[in-house]
């Protein structure tokens, strides 16, 4: 994005007090942690305003002074509080270096319209800080779980060793436990057995039905759609209760078949939604052209229609897979101890004897979901390209 406003350097009377304010805030955090907030505020404000003045007015070389500030604060941290403090100091130094020149060079105005008042510019940037905080809130739990899973202790918080980056504070023992403990391995095996079977059922039935639903003339289309989508809408606990009652009547409660059928039902709405969305852009003259050239309905389906809607089918299948792989409420009721899945094992672990192995499992699951997310995103782009909905 090109700049909207020509930038010019700002006066000392503007940026030094602002940097001092930011320095005071940072000083408050560090000071509070060390036991004296007031000292922190004063020292932070003085140190930062001094640095700001020095590197902008006396040194003036941006690149070297930013690195210099980073190094300075890192060394300061190292002297005061060891390796972890050095890292924090370096981060602070880098951020402040960037912040000082951002203000000094007037870059903060570059991407906002020329006519904004200073108050509006301030709001523009505060708004982004707020949004950033919310995004951090969204991502924090995942970011916290990952490092904690390498904890050498059986604690759920960062130990002093971990904060000092002492290698003794880290270990793979929770992962080792996951891969050797028979409870966890049994649960993993069950999950791996149930989810693909359920996914296969959902995809096979769902794709056929989605093709049927996307035809021009379907009687009771709305009613049928409502029924097919209902497993996604009905609260899981109600589905679970109903299935528990009904499946125990017909002898499916506590069997693999029961769990697979239940999970397939839960995954179907996702397949229907993604595949019908793919079929919206499907050009029906292609099937007619295929028929015209002598292809039977089966050949047409597999050689013409299927390759075009395949991305939608696969991402629907991934949704169905993740639904089954993550599902715990229904399996808790429909399954018995023999069908204990990974989420079930996590659930009991969290409710009864919480063990840090859960964090290792959680990390592995996060990595799996990142991989799946990437696949779905790539497929979506490919599908749009195939259907000519987006360039490139």
């Amino acid at each position: 994005m090109s700049t909207l406003t020509p930038v010019s350097r700002t006066p000392v009377s503007f940026y030094v007090p602002v940097v001092a304010l930011a320095g005071a805030l940072a000083g408050l955090l560090i000071g509070a942690a060390q036991g004296s907030s007031l000292l922190g505020i004063v020292a932070g404000a003085l140190l930062m305003s001094g640095c700001a003045f020095a590197i902008t007015q006396l040194i003036e070389a941006e690149r070297s002074s930013r690195w210099g500030l980073t190094a300075l604060l890192a060394v300061g941290g190292l002297v005061l509080g060891g390796l972890a403090a050095a890292l924090i100091g370096a981060v602070f130094g880098w951020v402040f270096g960037w912040f000082i020149f951002w203000l000094f060079e007037g870059r903060y105005r570059a991407y906002v319209p020329l006519y904004l008042t200073p108050g509006q510019v301030l709001w523009h940037h505060s708004f982004r800080v707020i949004c950033g905080a919310i995004l951090v809130f969204l991502i924090t739990p995942i970011l916290v779980v990952m490092p904690l899973s390498f904890n050498a202790q059986d604690f759920f918080t960062f130990t002093p060793e971990m904060l000092r980056f002492d290698p003794a504070g880290y270990s793979l023992k929770h992962y080792e436990d996951f891969f050797t403990n028979s409870d966890w391995q049994g649960a993993l095996a069950n999950s791996v057995k149930i989810a693909p079977a359920a996914t296969f059922l959902s995809v096979a039935f769902g794709t056929l039905a989605a093709i049927g639903l996307s035809q021009a003339h379907v009687p009771f289309r709305r009613a049928i759609m409502a029924i097919l989508i209902s497993p996604m809408i009905v609260p899981l606990i109600i589905s679970a209760a109903g299935m528990y009652f009904f499946y125990s009547r017909i002898g499916l409660q506590g069997t693999y078949t029961g769990v697979v059928l239940a999970h397939a039902a839960l995954g179907i709405p996702f397949v229907i939604i993604t595949v019908t969305a793919t079929l919206v852009g499907f050009d029906n003259s292609l099937t007619r052209a295929a028929a015209n050239m002598g292809a039977g309905p089966v050949t047409t389906f597999f050689r013409v229609q299927m390759p075009l809607i395949l991305p939608g089918v696969i991402s629907g299948g991934l949704f169905a897979f993740i639904t089954s792989f993550d599902e715990v409420v229904v399996v808790l009721f429909v399954g018995s101890a023999g069908q204990k899945t990974l989420p079930w094992q996590m659930f009991t672990g969290l409710r009864e004897q919480i063990s840090p192995t859960i964090l290792a499992v959680a990390t592995i699951l996060v990595i799996i979901s990142v991989a799946l997310l990437t696949v779905v995103e790539l497929l979506r782009r490919r599908s749009e390209r195939l259907r000519g909905m987006s360039p490139g």
Binding site: A33, F205, Q215, I233, G242, F270, F333
Partner: protein, 546 residues
């Protein structure tokens, strides 16, 4: 083709049929093909999903257990007037004796007791106690018959008296070990005429021994209940002259002696077991729940109960469900509200940033959306603990003293924080897709016409984003009120939802009817919201992360 171009007749298709018919047939074929494609899935969903839901709804009104377990009592009790203030007639107690005797042999009385205990506390122990001691009543007669003649002591002589000759021969031959099934008991024809009650009771006994207990009938002494029935038959002085089968002499002797027997006063005997049997309320409860279908579970689910004068509220200290429903609704509203508050700015930012940056930030929204629910819940459980990361950070910063760490988990705060985080993507995604369609030029136009930032936002931008807020809110709200896992794990006792109560009734208290009724109410609520969602957004427009 010549006929098709005839201007006077109907338009014809190539094969000579009228075009209209031909088109109709093609349309019908198309419809059938579409339905044929949908049918497998529709049947699948109907069997695996809709049928269970229907079954649950049925269970919320089903109530056959009382009339199944106490068939004679409920029949007799139908004539009793619950408002009279008097305990039922002795015949009812006698029927109760028979019913409980059979029920305790089949181990069904405790189940009935716990069923009725939902309605009236204390009934469970009443039935358990009665089941243990009901045999004493029959033994009064059993002892007297056995003292009178050793003939009455033996399984062998009883079988000879009650069973047909053919069956008796088959039963004596059966060795009890081979794979041949036990010969089914067959009643001696003459005996049913002279001793109707004894015959009926003995048949129940024989059926129970042979089919439910899988024991050898030839070796089982009859229940005390059979002796009571025999006494009742003999005291009526049946005409035994026509009977000449085995035991006819003993029967005559017993009939003569029966008038001198010590008798059992059933109402008094039951009062001796537990004086609650002379409590009108117990009988009213049994009478109220005699029918096969009941609205009792639904009344229970809204803190009401059935009484002889119709439905009434339960006493203040027993009212929990309305409170729980209200709490679920309020907490879901709070969660929806915080999702709007947090989701709106982020959606706005994503919709107004250049595509490349927006896509990058979108990953931060989609990653939690794709992460396992349990992973996120466990993360919050770990972070919000007393010794968790959040409290540790606050203590480190000096914002909270070490000895007064915040209670962030196992209460409503925990549920609200964790669920807001979990449901936030469901708010951001619909908001984003709506905001993406609002042209940014509108805001600029408003501003160039002199509107302040706030006016331009509030009068121009906000109204256009309302559909997104509506869609996101209903989605989040629907998901929130039915949530089970997260409140269960981080909600403690004060932060749980109605769904946790449903799960409790299914797996712990085993009050399935109440669980089904609570579920039905929750389902109605959700379907109402779903209908509203369909009206506002359209179910076809549900999008997943794209």
């Amino acid at each position: 083709m010549t006929r098709a171009s005839d201007p006077t007749g109907p338009m014809m298709a190539a094969d000579g049929t009228p075009l209209k018919t031909s088109l109709n047939r093609a349309l019908r074929r198309q419809k059938l093909r579409a339905l044929a494609l949908i049918a497998p899935l529709l049947i699948f969903i109907l069997v695996t999903f809709i049928a269970p839901i229907a079954d649950m709804l049925f269970r919320s009104v089903e109530n056959q257990i009382v009339s199944d377990t106490l068939p004679r009592t409920t029949e007799q009790l139908a004539e009793w007037d619950g408002d009279s203030g008097e305990i039922p007639a002795p015949e009812v107690f006698k029927a109760l004796y028979t019913d409980i005797f059979i029920a305790q042999e089949r181990k069904l009385h405790t189940r009935l007791g716990s069923r009725l205990n939902y309605e009236l506390t204390g009934v469970s122990s009443l039935f358990r106690k009665s089941g243990r001691r009901v045999e004493d009543m029959g033994e009064v007669y059993q002892d007297q018959f056995e003292d009178l003649n050793d003939f009455w002591k033996d399984a062998e002589t009883w079988n000879a008296l009650m069973g047909s000759d053919a069956w008796l021969a088959a039963q004596t031959k059966w060795d009890g070990k081979s794979d041949v099934p036990q010969p089914q008991f067959e009643l001696r024809e003459e005996i049913a005429g002279v001793l109707p009650q004894t015959a009926a009771t003995f048949e129940i006994f024989a059926d129970f021994v042979q089919n439910e207990d899988d024991d050898n009938l030839a070796k089982e002494d009859p229940w005390a209940l059979v002796y009571s029935a025999l006494y009742d038959d003999l005291i009526a002085e049946p005409d035994l002259s026509g009977y000449a089968g085995p035991g006819s002499a003993e029967l005559l002797e017993a009939m003569a002696a029966a008038s001198t027997f010590e008798t059992v006063d059933y109402p008094a005997a039951f009062e001796k077991i537990d004086k609650d049997w002379h409590d009108i309320e117990v009988w009213q409860t049994i009478q109220t729940y005699s029918p096969d279908f009941t609205s009792g579970y639904f009344l229970n689910a809204v803190d009401m109960k059935k009484s002889p004068d119709g439905a009434e509220m339960r006493p203040e200290n027993e009212q929990i469900y309305i409170k729980l429903f209200v709490r679920t609704l309020i907490m879901s509203l709070v969660i929806t509200g915080s999702c709007i508050l947090l989701g709106y700015p982020v959606a706005w930012l994503l919709a107004n940033l250049p595509a490349r940056t927006a896509n990058l930030l979108m990953i931060l929204v989609l990653l939690p959306f794709w992460t396992s629910l349990l992973v996120r819940t466990s993360a919050w459980k770990v972070m919000l603990q007393q010794q968790g990361v959040v409290n540790d950070t606050l203590v480190w910063l000096g914002l909270v003293a070490d000895d007064s760490r915040l209670a962030l988990i196992n209460n409503q705060t925990g549920t609200i924080i964790a669920m807001t985080h979990i449901l936030l993507p469901f708010m951001i995604l619909p908001l984003y897709s709506v905001m993406k369609t609002i042209p940014p030029s509108y805001l600029r136009a408003a501003k160039s016409l002199g509107a302040t930032n706030w006016t331009a936002f509030w009068r121009v931008y906000f109204p256009q984003s309302v559909p997104g807020i509506g869609a996101g809110s209903i989605l989040v709200f629907i998901l929130a009120i039915g949530y089970y896992i997260t409140p269960e794990l981080v909600g403690g006792t004060t932060g749980t939802f109605i769904s946790n109560r449903i799960a409790y009734h299914i797996s712990s208290s085993l009050n399935w009817g109440l669980a089904a009724a609570l579920g039905a109410i929750l389902l109605a609520l959700v379907l109402g919201l779903y209908w509203a969602y369909d009206k506002i957004v359209g179910i076809d427009n549900v999008k997943l992360g794209g």
